[in-house]
Symmetry: C2
Subunit: 210 residues, 2 copies
DNA sequence: GTCTATATTTCGATAGAC
DNA sequence: GTCTATCGAAATATAGAC
């Protein structure tokens, strides 16, 4: 064989290193934005020489794009419980819980997404126009069905989705502000209380508790 | 006189140029973040040579700090209608309306604030710990009073404030995403509908409509 | 696949004529 | 107070030995 490293072994190395770099990149992009992040900082955090990053990801923008796509995929799967539910209390309640849990577990990914959208979505505009638009249309249709069945008040489904996104992601994107006002990071109990508060106000707000 | 420009005239020039630069800087910082913004871009947008920016603002960070302080001041004054109200329907309703109107009129300022907080508030941490904390304590005390008087449901005042901030600012910070899903920027009527949707869900959600 | 050294560009900031 | 020219630092990206 010309190559001492077998394809499968090489794939393992590539996958492991890509994951390591992506994890470091997510953190640095979240802390500094795309413009403020440097390949050197990402390399240091990953414990690799800077040139290795360019071996696995051709450009800084390619690396950034992968980080944004990751959080997007995670969010897309968060609504499966909503689709299976028979009504808004279980469905929207489960969706809020899932989104809150993602804010807690993946705050950096959420921040990178916020950064990307805030600056005009230069690298994921096509996702907004295709995948996200179709995904949203499906969920608002479900909400309209629940309204027609008398299971909740006739609220605007789009603005309801915006409120759920805004509120749940706020605990990630503005986590630093919340921690400062709270006198420190939210404890497990405080996170549970936050979930319940958000669920209670929104579910009552759409008339799903009566 | 040694100086051909009288102090008052000089002050007028300084004020006018500072305002011009701050306006351009807000737009560029909103579009690119602190790290992605360049003094050259800001100078081009203001129609001035780059060196003039350094004449009025010693460093890029000084200029950025002024932009962040501006939006903070605007938000602080948005709750005056809340303080004067006799209950949550008028008070919180007016606060939501004021915050929505600011998101519509100052989307760039809102984005710069979001950028700053998302990245750990390196230049306005002291504001969070002093002014914002005191301001929030005053408003949550007012909400607790309304709850004690039986004017609204016993929701957690802090999480209610987070929801109001998150939802209203979402229309500025994620305005690009909303416009994409909406098929274009929100019309006057769409903005009015957004305001009413947000008010309706939150006011019903805190039990202030019954 | 890894890493050192470096090419090239662009940034923030300043000097100095006007 | 304005503007051209430029310095020094730091960035992305690559070349090439191992």
């Amino acid at each position: 064989m010309r190559d001492p490293v077998r394809p499968s072994r090489r794939n393992e190395i590539r996958q492991a290193n890509e994951a390591l770099i992506l994890q470091a990149a997510e953190k640095v992009f979240a802390e500094a934005g795309f413009g403020g992040a440097t390949m050197q900082l990402i390399a240091d955090m990953a414990g690799l020489p800077k040139a290795n990053l360019h071996y696995y990801f051709a450009t800084k923008e390619d690396l950034y794009r992968r980080v944004v796509q990751n959080i997007f995929e995670i969010w897309l799967h968060a609504a499966e419980a909503m689709d299976d539910a028979s009504g808004p209390i279980a469905g929207i309640g489960a969706y809020i819980e899932a989104k809150m849990e993602i804010s807690r577990r993946h705050p950096d990914g959420s921040k990178v997404w916020a950064y990307e959208v805030m600056h005009g979505a230069p690298v994921i505009q096509d996702y907004l126009e295709t995948t996200l638009r179709e995904w949203t249309a499906g969920r608002t249709a479900l909400i309209r069905k629940w309204i027609a069945e008398g299971k909740m008040a006739p609220v605007d489904p789009d603005h309801l989705m915006y409120m759920i996104w805004a509120t749940t992601q706020h605990y990630a994107d503005f986590g630093h502000q919340i921690a400062t006002l709270n006198g420190g990071p939210l404890s497990d109990a405080a996170w549970a209380a936050a979930k319940e508060s958000v669920k209670a106000i929104i579910l009552r707000g759409i008339g799903a508790l009566e």
